[in-house]
């Protein structure tokens, strides 16, 4: 009897803890979503009405219709910021994967002088605050006329994606048994052939998780585009969002809608590829 009562008590406690955790996870974000579909008059009521009486997608529509009167510049231009973010993040991911996989293979499998020192250097780069490279990069980009361009952003984003990707991919490559590669080499495959036919296919899950991380890091990046972009030719989503709180008044529901749109790509990626992300975090974490 006593034992049974204890298990009931235990399930009640677990239920309460689970519910509390779920509330803490969901409610702040739910409020952002609700704010984005609530009319301003309801949103600025005191105390707030938690559930909108007349939910509307107007703020989303504003962002995707060609310039209408009465829509703030930030809202009207938001779609271009989304496109910039997507293009920049995509190309950063592609370039990073290609360049970093070659270097990671060398670090994971080849013996050469300076290997340890270079790996240490990569770790040291991860400790620098972004601002220590900002001034020189600004001058550099303006010299080659890449300020306020997406190409310029792709270039400077590589400064944090490459060290990260080399580090994490070298870890993944090391987990592949050397014997498999040696077998292929005895069959007459070259070292590079072994990289492309043995190592890369076998570390596909690692490549996927690296790609997702790099994409999410690039999508998240704020400081570089803040300094290096000035117009919607290159301005990315994180910078655009901060501009809803503009010179005059803040359009709260438009800002919330922008926030929801900006978080959809990483949230969707995170839910779809959760397994890869967690294995990547633990692999990168344990070696990093």
């Amino acid at each position: 009897m006593k034992h049974k009562r204890r298990t009931i008590l235990r399930s009640i406690l677990i239920f309460i803890a689970g519910l509390l955790l779920l509330a803490v996870i969901l409610l702040p974000y739910a409020w952002l979503v609700i704010s984005s579909i609530t009319e301003t008059s309801e949103l600025t009521a005191v105390p707030p009405c938690w559930i909108p009486k007349r939910p509307t997608l107007q703020k989303y529509r504003d962002m995707f219709t060609p310039d209408v009167l009465g829509v703030s510049e930030t809202a009207a231009m938001f779609k271009y910021a989304m496109a910039n973010s997507a293009v920049v993040s995509f190309f950063v991911t592609v370039v990073t994967l290609i360049v970093a996989s070659l270097a990671a293979y060398a670090f994971a499998r080849l013996e050469f002088r300076g290997r340890e020192q270079m790996l240490l250097g990569i770790v040291a780069v991860k400790m620098l605050p972004a601002i220590s490279t900002m001034v020189a990069l600004y001058v550099l980009l303006s010299k080659v006329q890449l300020l306020d361009t997406r190409t310029g952003l792709v270039l400077v984003y590589l400064s944090f994606t490459l060290p990260f990707a080399i580090w994490i991919m070298a870890g993944f490559f090391q987990t592949i048994p050397k014997e498999l590669e040696e077998a292929a080499r005895i069959d007459g495959t070259s070292r590079l052939g072994a990289l492309f036919h043995v190592i890369l296919p076998l570390s596909a899950p690692g490549l996927v998780s690296t790609a997702i991380f790099v994409f999410m890091m690039s999508w998240d990046e704020f400081f570089y585009p803040l300094i290096f972009t000035s117009t919607y030719a290159a301005k990315t989503v994180p910078v655009a969002i901060t501009e809803f709180a503009g010179r005059h008044a803040i359009d709260y529901s438009a800002m919330a809608a922008g926030g929801v749109l900006a978080s959809i790509p990483p949230i969707v990626l995170a839910f779809i590829f959760q397994r890869y992300i967690i294995s990547g975090l633990t692999a990168g974490g344990i070696k990093g």
Binding site: I14, G18, L22, I25, L26, P28, W31, L32, S35, T44, A45, V46, P47, V99, A100, L102, A103, Y105, A106, L110, E111, F112, R113, M127, L128, P129, A130, I131, S132, T133, M134, A136, L137, L140, V156, L162, P163, S190, R191, L192, M216, W219, F222, P238, I241, T242, F244, A245, A256, G259, A262, S263, P266, I267, A270, F271, Q274, I277, T282, G285
Partner: protein, 314 residues
């Protein structure tokens, strides 16, 4: 062993092994594979850092373009005796210590909870990735809106619960603002800690617990003797990574408080940003950024020592 050009030479020792058959030596191939990364990192990381190092020795202010004298270490002396800089380092340290400890404690509790078998566990494990996936800037505007002085959800909620009798301007009080920014950061970052601890928990063999039970150990004792030692390395790694990130905090401060009110949330990187891009005081800004890097490296070295000790201890 290296030739005059500084490149590794391909003497007999370099060509031992499988690579020898294929003409290209192992170290040459390695260099070739690393070259693209080396060129890129050299151009967009090393060169800017060296450039910044040089700038830090000059009295380099963009508002005074006609005079840029070399002043040696004077920028560093000036920074290290600047009260506001020291205060900003203190704020970064406060932000780091409080946010990282909260994240570790909450992360541990949540990981232990999600390691228990119950219905709905898989669902919770899926949902917990949400705060981590929300972009940093979105997280910042979301909480700024929740804390809003006039229409914020926090005010509304506390008012309806009868805990306050009028709306408060939460982000207008320096110390409160700092703590609320920390809370926003904790919501965003704790899942990262949960993932790593949860993954480590799943590697503890069940047989260890069974053996402990057979030996008559209670669950608290099993936790102390089995669970905690297993988690220790993962804990230290999370500590290193989160400390390095938290000490450099910038985005969330920029968006939520812009260093205010009354410099109450002006952390070290934000002060450096202000010095560099608002006062255009490049020399001093550069010196600040190196002092911040040095502090981060110092802390990391201490941590890595701890980690190494850990490796030999187990």
């Amino acid at each position: 062993m290296s030739g005059p050009s500084g490149l590794p030479n391909t003497g007999p020792l370099g060509s031992i092994g499988l690579g020898a058959k294929r003409g290209l030596s192992e170290s040459r191939l390695a260099l070739l594979l690393i070259l693209p990364s080396l060129v890129l990192i050299g151009g967009i990381v090393l060169y800017p850092i060296l450039n910044n190092l040089v700038i830090s020795f000059f009295d380099y202010n963009l508002t005074i373009p006609w005079a840029r004298p070399f002043i040696g270490l004077r920028n560093y002396v000036e920074v290290l005796t600047d009260r506001e800089f020291l205060a900003s380092v203190g704020r970064a340290a406060y932000f780091t210590v409080v946010s990282v400890s909260l994240e570790l404690v909450l992360g541990l509790l949540i990981a232990l909870f999600l390691n228990v078998d119950f219905r709905g566990r898989a669902f919770l494990k899926t949902m917990i990735i949400l705060p981590w996936a929300v972009p940093t800037v979105v997280n910042a505007i979301m909480w700024k809106w929740i804390y809003d002085a006039n229409y914020g959800a926090l005010n509304g909620l506390l008012m309806q619960l009868g805990m306050i009798d009028q709306y408060q301007a939460w982000l207008a009080k320096p110390f409160t603002a700092m703590n609320l920014v920390i809370l926003a950061d904790v919501w965003h970052q704790t899942p990262f800690v949960v993932f790593i601890l949860l993954a480590t928990l799943s590697t503890i063999p069940e047989s260890l617990y069974e053996a402990a039970r057979v030996d008559g150990a209670g669950s608290l004792q099993a936790f102390r003797k089995i669970t905690l030692p297993f988690l220790r390395p993962a804990f230290l790694i999370v500590l290193v990574i989160r400390t390095m990130e938290a000490f450099r905090v910038f985005d969330i401060i920029y968006v939520m408080t812009a260093g205010g009110p009354a410099n109450g949330t002006q952390v070290a990187t934000y002060y450096t940003y202000v010095e560099t891009f608002r006062y255009l005081n490049m020399g001093k800004g550069a010196a600040q950024s190196f002092i911040i890097s040095a502090l981060i490296m110092l802390v990391s070295i201490v941590y890595i020592r701890l980690l190494k000790q850990d490796d030999t201890a187990y």
